[in-house]
């Protein structure tokens, strides 16, 4: 059950934070509120000013939204975690979608009034954006602005922001928080969903914490971070990973001047150089979408490189094939688990040998060895604590955390020279996260070089012995994990010197 009898009340003109860790049921709750999911039981009560008497008592109406259309009509607006924008449409087209007007009686779309409406809202709230720009060509921060404009233009009274800061730089986050304050002062109510304690404390008027689909408490922003964290996770959280100081040895990964193009043809990785030594963890910090994905894929020969060299354990691997890189002792945890990491309809046993299926002892002369495959699976399931009834169940039957453990088990069950871990704990519960972190450290201690790529700055700082900050396809600084967060935050926004203007767009 994703949501279990949750009660939540939001007052007019307040910013109400909904705090909970990944998978606690926040998004499910909001999707119900927004009519994308129909609840099994319960109701939604919305108070709106009476049309006849705008200043009088609010009139309550009871709702059970069947579709987002119902929610829209009731004055709800939502900025989704995954943007609900049509990439090939312009800003104006996205904004008017669903509430289009026509030019006179021609029946033709009135794009002019759409542009004007976008400009009007842009100016009123300082959300500048070009109405004729194609959404897919805008940076994520601006796309989010389009989402907010979309909600505002339909005169919503209650704005729901679902994990809005996940894709933003610290500076963009500050701008967003300013916008939120302005909207609140304008009388709008805001539900702010987040698992980031600092932001919640900074902006919320009230905080509701949910865990495993239930409300565990309501508190004010004066509560300390550790109090909030304890409520959110249900026990004291270790914010650090226990590890000995690193003893870096020979370089296992030497990247110089690497350039990689993304699907759109822009240089996602642009002349990047980086070295990882055996026995150390290098963390790549950076806001999502600065070329981290392409960097990992280029090392694994999954994305074609345009220029530069990649040496693995001293060998030039720029033109190697993926299976040769795997053979060279490189382990890889891909960032998109269900797309790149697992074959969901394969059994756990099959997934565990996915990159060794044609190697002894699992196969000889093209014939699979079922007994050996089963033995391996039983062994891994026990060692890596994969919670399943049988190795013959499909990967799809596992929870996110256990799926990730299968990938970790697959990659860590052979001697590695280098480990590339991209978003290794995305969407997994705290228990699995701690387990995976400790295995990564163990891998380092047994002599592998580790490259951790994560958009969670906390994860990078906790794991890394050395932090490389990535911005716009380049490593713009290498710092110690003890560096103050603010400083790293500025670097993540591309500011290397004394000026801060680079953070804007």
């Amino acid at each position: 059950m994703a949501n279990d009898h949750i009660d939540l009340t939001v007052e007019p003109g307040e910013i109400h934070a909904l705090l909970g860790e990944n998978g606690a049921g926040k998004s499910t709750l909001m999707n119900m509120l927004y009519g994308l999911i129909t609840p099994d039981e319960g109701e939604i009560v919305i108070g709106r000013p009476d049309a006849a008497d705008p200043d009088g008592e609010l009139v309550d109406t009871v709702h059970r939204f069947q579709s987002p259309g119902d929610a829209l009509d009731a004055g709800l607006g939502m900025v989704h975690q995954h943007f609900m924008l049509v990439p090939v449409f312009t800003v104006a087209e996205n904004v008017i979608l669903g509430r289009e007007t026509s030019k006179g009686r021609t029946g033709l779309l009135d794009r002019d009034s759409a542009r004007a409406a976008v400009r009007e809202v842009s100016e009123r709230y300082g959300l500048w954006v070009d109405p004729d720009a194609l959404v897919e060509e805008l940076p994520v921060g601006v796309q989010q602005r389009v989402e907010i404009i979309k909600a505002l233009i339909s005169d919503c009274e209650l704005l729901i922001l679902d994990e809005p800061t996940a894709v933003l730089t610290p500076q963009e986050i500050n701008e967003l928080l300013d916008i939120m304050r302005q909207l609140r002062d304008d009388g709008k109510s805001i539900v702010f969903i987040s698992h980031k304690l600092k932001e919640v404390k900074a902006i919320a008027d009230r905080i509701t914490v949910i865990r495993r689909g239930k409300v565990v408490g309501e508190t004010s922003p004066t509560a300390s971070e550790s109090e909030l964290a304890a409520m959110m996770v249900g026990r004291d959280v270790r914010l650090t990973v226990e590890k000995e100081p690193a003893s870096p040895d020979t370089p296992v990964l030497e990247i110089s001047d690497l350039t990689v193009a993304d699907d759109r043809g822009t240089h996602a990785v642009d002349g990047l150089s980086l070295t990882v030594r055996s026995g150390e963890i290098v963390g790549v910090a950076g806001v999502q979408g600065n070329g981290q994905t392409e960097l990992a894929e280029a090392i694994m020969a999954l994305a074609p490189t345009i220029g530069g060299t990649i040496r693995i354990a001293g060998d030039d691997m720029a033109h190697a094939k993926t299976h040769e890189i795997i053979e060279a002792g490189v382990g890889y945890i891909p960032e998109d688990r269900s797309l790149d990491g697992l074959v969901r309809d394969f059994t756990i046993a099959e997934n565990l040998i996915l990159n060794r299926y044609n190697r002894p002892p699992y196969a000889r002369r093209g014939v699979l060895n079922a007994a050996e495959i089963q033995r391996r699976a039983a062994d891994n399931i026990e060692t890596f604590d994969v919670r399943t009834q049988s190795a013959d169940h499909t990967a799809a039957s596992l929870s996110g955390g256990n799926q990730q453990k299968v990938i970790v088990a697959r990659e860590f069950s052979r001697p590695l020279k280098l480990l590339i871990a991209a978003q290794p704990t995305r969407g997994v519960d705290v228990g699995a996260m701690e387990f995976i972190h400790s295995r990564i450290v163990a891998e380092r201690d047994s002599g592998a070089g580790v490259l951790v790529i994560s958009s969670e700055l906390d994860e990078v700082l906790a794991l890394a012995d050395r932090v490389a900050v990535m911005y716009d396809g380049k490593i713009i600084a290498e710092v110690s994990p003890d560096t103050p967060r603010d400083e790293i935050g500025l670097l993540m926004a591309g500011s290397t010197g004394d000026d801060e203007e680079a953070a804007g767009d």
Binding site: I326, L339, D340, S397
Partner: protein, 449 residues
């Protein structure tokens, strides 16, 4: 037609509850009642089984629903029967009995032509009919089933690798050409000639089948379109080949374009002869054994070989397979080549197994297209394909005997109807108010372009 971009893919895990998916849980109750609680009894268990939309029952119901729709069509398209409906309200019995006669005659004829004719059986028991006449329907079914099974395997194998091989028809045609060229072009002893002719068919079909694989691997062109187009190319090529001097039957008395016949030494021996039954009319030949052997080989390949592992992995998730170091383009080419070889083998059994043992414009019939329905009915699994091939072979054999009363298209229609219901288990479930089985309905998943 591009593969879905990673960025567009929603991440279900962010919002998914951390509890295990329900799929694991409901499997237990299915076993427990059988072993521990005796109370439900066989009757109620059986009842529960037949009212659940499981794979077996959906298949069975699909067949029955198709027969019902077929019956309706027989009734409305028969002018005599329709006539009786004009006075339905004054004498309903006329209309009902006329309908019943039309439908039961058709389906009884189908059965008699496909499996056993009870009149012949009675005559045989009375010593008036030969064993050959008695076995003739079964023999016909097996004759038709052999190429259908092979073509079904060709489509099914490609399905396993995530490819939709609509080009089986063209590959079958190329297979007939390859087999025929070796059949009449070389003169060898039988123990060499037959295997070589079969191989010739497989290679010709395989090379032709690999083309859509290569095109997809290199340019991303969708195999559905390229392989359909290649069907027409193959047909034209066949037309050209037949009129070629080297190939053409030199006999000027032939009414239509036909190639030289394949040598006796290259032909598939008849089963009756091999078993010592003296019945020259029984056409069933070694082809059916070849088909079943091919099914066994494909089953082994998919379950036990690294190549099959790779095909299945790529078919289920090409992204993850690539990330795990597999070559997706190579897998596409190999799978389509293998599929083409199976279809080519189907073509070979047509030329080497069925008279006139020569190439004509219609030598491949609709075998390749029927392979699609066979594969869908068999759910792309080798033994499922064998069963489906036998069923459709029986339909085809039966249709030949009922052709006097009903057109051959009836079979195409029944096949398509069966497969539509198979592809839409949710529809069958809704129509018959079935229960959802543990683990959900077995559906083919949509992939998009």
């Amino acid at each position: 037609m591009t593969e879905p971009k990673p960025a567009e893919k929603p991440e279900p895990d962010d919002t998914a509850p951390v509890t295990p998916a329900p799929e694991t849980a409901p499997e237990r109750p299915a076993e427990e009642p059988a072993d521990q609680e005796r109370r439900p009894g066989f009757g109620s268990l059986f009842l529960r089984y037949v009212t659940t939309a499981n794979t077996v029952m959906v298949t069975l119901y699909s067949f029955l629903l198709a027969m019902v729709i077929g019956a309706v069509l027989i009734i409305v398209s028969d002018p005599a029967v329709r006539g009786t409906f004009t006075y339905f309200f004054s004498r309903p019995t006329d209309a009902l009995s006329a309908s019943w006669t039309a439908v039961s005659d058709a389906y009884a004829g189908l059965f008699a032509g496909a499996i056993v004719n009870f009149t012949t059986l009675a005559e045989f028991q009375a010593g008036e009919a030969t064993i050959g006449r008695l076995l003739s329907p079964i023999s016909e079914t097996l004759t038709y089933a052999a190429p259908l099974i092979l073509a079904g395997l060709a489509v099914g194998l490609a399905f396993q690798a995530g490819l939709f091989n609509i080009g089986a028809q063209g590959q079958v045609i190329m297979g007939t050409v390859g087999a025929a060229l070796i059949g009449f072009g070389l003169h060898l002893p039988a123990y060499l000639h037959l295997p070589l002719a079969l191989l010739g068919g497989a290679i010709a079909g395989g090379l032709f089948g690999a083309i859509p694989g290569v095109l997809k691997a290199w340019s991303g062109a969708h195999e559905v379109i390229t392989s359909i187009m290649l069907n027409y190319v193959a047909l034209s090529a066949l037309g050209w080949i037949i009129t070629n001097e080297f190939v053409k039957d030199p006999d000027p008395n032939k009414q239509y374009a036909i190639s030289k016949p394949a040598d006796e030494s290259s032909l598939l021996p008849r089963l009756a002869g091999m078993l010592g039954i003296d019945a020259p009319g029984l056409r069933a030949n070694l082809g059916i054994i070849v088909a079943i052997a091919a099914a066994a080989l494909v089953a082994w390949l998919l379950a036990k070989s690294t190549l099959g592992f790779r095909m299945r992995a790529v078919g289920l998730n090409a992204h993850a397979s690539r990330t795990a170091g597999m070559s997706v383009p190579n897998t596409y080419i190999t799978s389509m080549g293998g599929a083409g070889a199976l279809a080519g083998l189907a073509g070979a059994t047509l030329v080497l197994g069925i008279s006139p043992h020569a190439l004509t414009h219609g030598v491949a019939g609709e075998v390749g297209f029927d392979g699609i329905t066979v594969a869908l009915l068999g759910r792309a699994k080798p033994w499922g394909v064998v069963a489906a091939g036998l069923l459709f072979g029986a339909l085809r054999a039966g249709a030949n005997t009922m052709q006097s009363t009903l057109p051959l298209d009836m079979v195409t229609l029944l096949q398509a109807l069966i497969v539509i219901f198979i592809a839409a288990p949710a529809l069958v479930k809704a129509m018959l108010h079935l229960k959802v089985p543990a683990g959900g309905l077995a559906t083919t998943t949509a992939k998009g372009w």
